[in-house]
Every structure is written in structure tokens, then in C-alpha cells.
Symmetry: C2
Subunit: 202 residues, 2 copies
Amino acid sequence: MSKKIITIGRQCGSGGHTIGKALAEKLNIPLYDREFLEEISKRSGLSEDVVEQEGEYSSANKVFNTATGFYRNYDMKDKASLPLREQINAYQMEYIKEVASQGPCVIVGRCADFVLRDRNDCLNVFIRSDLDKRVCRVIEEHRVPDEEAEMHIKDRDRKRADHYKYITGQVWGDVNNYHICLDSGFLGLDACIELIVKCYTE
Amino acid sequence: MSKKIITIGRQCGSGGHTIGKALAEKLNIPLYDREFLEEISKRSGLSEDVVEQEGEYSSANKVFNTATGFYRNYDMKDKASLPLREQINAYQMEYIKEVASQGPCVIVGRCADFVLRDRNDCLNVFIRSDLDKRVCRVIEEHRVPDEEAEMHIKDRDRKRADHYKYITGQVWGDVNNYHICLDSGFLGLDACIELIVKCYTE
């Protein structure tokens, strides 16, 4: 089966973004990660900050966990009438489908594995790593203060998990939702990139 | 980090045994899978059937889910005084540690990732696949009758999950317990073997 799209789910501090960026460069295909914020901001008329906070990291996601399957029955024409967070999710889904239809690309986060589940040309990847290694990484790479690093990681991961549950009705990081899951702390980022390229190009 | 031991957790019908066998052949190292049954039978004086049923597939595992962490505090000298199932688990753990100490090898199932958690030279692998592909595989390869295939898979997976929970206190197939998880149905067995060899030899 020929693969066109790489979706990457990732624990905070696992290097998922770095891996996505390197894959896009190596394969010479576009990367969509923080690029979503600018585009969704443009389409919705909301600031990038609001798009980020109300999207993948909304603290309200948890409250709505039982209202799963949002994306499944959503009518895209009704976006304007939706609450803020639903608007952003709807714009995001529309944009994910749009970029996927344009050709090969790498999409980081945003439940892209679920949004594109009806395509059969996606390689769905999940990147994890042990907490101690992720703590080191967010201190060094993301410049999070030492004493806040663990809390920062746990908070972001909790919000990502809640968001994934809210959108998909499924468990974030469940091995059954991915074609390949890698421990970037154990294997190293370079090895992860090589393994994913191998999966993608074979 | 140089890796010596490959442990393989696997969903029933995912081809985990076949992958383990091919890895052992390619890397020219021993494979331990059903080999456990013969050895544990010899050591314990119990039949291979009893060893298999009371070990990884014991229907009693579920009942004892709350009594987790069995392996953690177990004194190996007391084996003879233990109930049958605990005896088998104890022999199994002892044998896993023994073969791992003898040199590189591939170990399929038996919570080997957990039993060898204090070593830092293990590559822990989990093999999964979608249910429909696993159904085809157990019909073709394991000669399970068509009408029983799905039930057979679900029963074995439930028992493996219960056994893993009983022994380790953790969730079987949790992405956080493995260095690499692969969808053998999507990627193909040959690609899985190549990817694991790449992880092992780099």
C-alpha cells in the first residue's frame, strides 16, 4: 500500500515535532504543526493564542468527555453557529482534510489519525519517551524552568488526552490506533526518523 | 546502548511468534516461546499442557487481578510451597532470567519485558494487528475453524491481558511499556522483522 500522509501523535517532550520536521525535510513534503494555528486564525478570525488554547489544549475538554464523537456527525456548513471551541475544531478538521487531499505531508497532533481514518494511505505514528528524558528535553529545548518541567509535561499530556477523547471517543496513545509507536528516549531521534522513513517508503 | 535481549509481546494472530522466529534465525540467537513449556514441565514435574493452561492462559488470573505484583516480592526458594499456578510462574521467571543471563536471545510472551525490567539491554517489542487480519491469520496458520476464530482470539487476548495484569500490575499492550510497537497487518511481517533488526543492531 502506498502511503502519502504521516500523522504523528506525541507525548509532550518526546521530540515528536522535531521528528516530524526532519521527516518533512528528508521526504521533501510539507509539515503541518504550528502552521495550523496561523491558518485557523486566518479562517476563523480568532487570534493564534485563542486557537491554540481552545483547540488541542482546551481545559474544557475534560468536562465534555462524555460528549464524544463530535467530529463524526458534524455538519461543516454550520461552523459559524457553533461555540468557540467547536468552531476551532471544525476549522481544524476541514483544514486537515484539505491539506491531506493536496498531496503527501506530515501532520503533527490534532487527532489527524482519527480525522483521516477513512483514507488508507496514512501512516499513523505515536512517539513516546520515559518521563525523566522528557523532563530533560523540555528544559533544554523548550526552555521550561527546571522546577516547572514535570508539571508542564503532565498538564499538556492530560489536555492532549482529554482533547483526543473528546474528539474521537478513544484513548490517546492506545497502541491499537497507530501503525508504529516508538520510544524516542530509548531509540534516539535519528533512529526514529530512519525507522519511520523506512515504513513510509517501503 | 547495546541490546542483547528482544522481548516480544503480541496479540493473538498478529504473527508475533513468526516474527520472533525469523528474528532469531536472522540474528542467529536462540528463540524462547513454546520452548518454555518443555523446560518448565521438566523442572516442575508437571505436564506441558498444565504448564500452558496454568501459566499464560490461566482462567484464574482474572480473579486475582487485585493481587498484583506477584513477581516483585517473590522468594524463589519457596517455589515448592506455592499453589500450582504460582509455582509455574516462579519457574518461568527463574528460567527467563537464566536464559537472558546466558546471552542474546528472543523471548516471546511470558511478561519477559517486566521480568527483565532491571536490565538495560532489552529491546521490548509489541506486535498488534487489526482483528479482521488476525482472524484470517488464525484460520490459515493456526487452523482454527472459521466460526471459532474471533472467539479464539478474544479469549486468548483476554487471558494474556489478565495474566500480564496479575504478574505486573500493569496494562498489557500499554505503549509506555515497549520501545517499539508495530501493526503487522498494515506493515507486513517482513517489514516488521526488518524494523526490529534495525532497532536491535544500531
